[in-house]
Symmetry: C2
Subunit: 265 residues, 2 copies
């Protein structure tokens, strides 16, 4: 299971303040904590700083990679911001994200074409956000095929079927889960990823919903997540879930986590 | 989601002692607690009392139904024990369980044929316990068809694909989960049920595995469980899981559970 740590995002107040103040220590701390908690990629987003996003992206990448060995997940729809981050990035970055929206696709695809970059491919088109499994499949199909045609290796594509709130429509959870399953079946080698928090929007006890939805998505084949890796119950649940679906031979990772006292939360 | 409370089982020491001493109050207490925690059926099992099982089954049914309005799940492979329990049972009981093992099938089928009894149908045959999804499907297919031929309504059949420990073989979890999904797809109207505890046999932190496996099985379509309903985290997870797969319109049950303080465990 690939974990992208989501905490370094300028939409979060303490992060925005640290970016504004160029407080490298504060950013490094959050990067380190996430890495030590099991994040494989550290998401970096400076999207709220209009006009300064590219500059701050460069600073975030340098700062995060000054504190950890983890690669970054460069989080911006703007190719200029992505390029600025890539220019200073060490190792193989992940791009968050491309979509089937024409302008976004055409602007970003030259950056990733023919490279080893990993890319999050949102199931979003110019017609908007999909609601049903079939709408997601239609977009995923086109997007995966276009990316492969543009020399992106299928194993570097992380399709995000886009979670929508069950408080809006009770079928939104199951339509997402079924899309994950069908994408993993129909496109061998591709990955699926998502952020979770939308699913619980408008409801109380959001963590309980997010934690359980993550586990359900793993049951359906999801193999990457954008989450807060400092949520200990989430991480324990995911370690258990991986063992339960046979992704943890001899339960070795589960037993290691047990010995390291990571399961009893 | 149909919940069968599993606690009144003579393999548990305090229950064996209460049965032996004919301590009705002790049994009633466990029945009531399970019912109030959300169990729809109360499992009753006196299987360790060889020679007295039928007599104790009768007493258990009377005792449990003297304390709660819940129907019982009569838990024995012995048709004589089941009949003795049924003779005093009020309402529609569940039978736990029939299987494709020839002797067991032929002894039990006359009791349930043409009735409204619910029946747990174990994916077990004279060739033993299945390991793969395909072995389970073969047994489930025969068993469901035979039961329907014998005048058992498909909506009264609860197929148990039989959980096996992931510590024995890491694929045992996923083979079970995929069987649940295929049974629910191929036999519209049928239910799937299971006990969970085998999945975590031989591993530490068994509750964590059981709780997550339950949620994963719900994602795959499972709609009944034999569990300890006093496990508050398990129950909270299941309420969340039901909302997440669209079985809880407008999340009304989830919101009710939140107001009753059942989610924050």
């Amino acid at each position: 299971m690939l974990i992208v740590g989501e905490l370094i995002n300028s939409s979060r107040k303490p992060i925005a303040e640290a970016i504004q103040a160029q407080d490298a220590e504060a950013i490094k701390k959050v990067a380190k904590e996430q890495y030590e908690a099991g994040a494989h990629y550290i998401d970096v987003n400076a999207g709220t700083f209009v006009g300064k996003e590219a500059e701050y992206m460069e600073w975030l990448v340098k700062t995060v990679q000054g504190a950890t060995d983890a690669p970054c997940c460069l989080d911006s729809p703007d190719p200029k911001v992505i390029e600025r981050g890539l220019a200073v990035h060490k190792g193989t970055a992940m791009i968050n994200s491309i979509s089937l929206e024409r302008e976004r696709f055409e602007a970003l695809v030259p950056i990733i074409s023919g490279t080893d970059l990993k890319v999050i491919a949102l199931c979003m088109s110019d017609e908007g956000m999909p609601e049903t499994k079939d709408q997601r499949m239609k977009i995923a199909d086109k997007l995966i095929n276009l990316l492969v045609q543009k020399n992106v290796k299928i194993e570097n594509i992380y399709v995000d079927p886009l979670v929508q709130p069950i408080s809006t429509n009770s079928i939104f959870g199951v339509e997402f889960l079924n899309a994950v399953e069908e994408i993993m079946e129909r496109f061998p080698g591709v990955h699926t990823i998502c952020g979770l928090s939308n699913v619980s929007y408008g409801l109380p006890m959001r963590k309980l919903l997010n934690q359980n939805f993550a586990v359900m998505a793993v049951a359906k084949g999801l193999d990457a997540l954008i989450i807060n890796p400092l949520d200990k119950r989430m991480m324990a649940n995911l370690i258990a879930a991986e063992a339960l679906v046979g992704r943890d031979q001899y339960c070795m990772n589960y037993l290691k986590a047990y010995r390291e006292n990571k399961l009893d939360v």
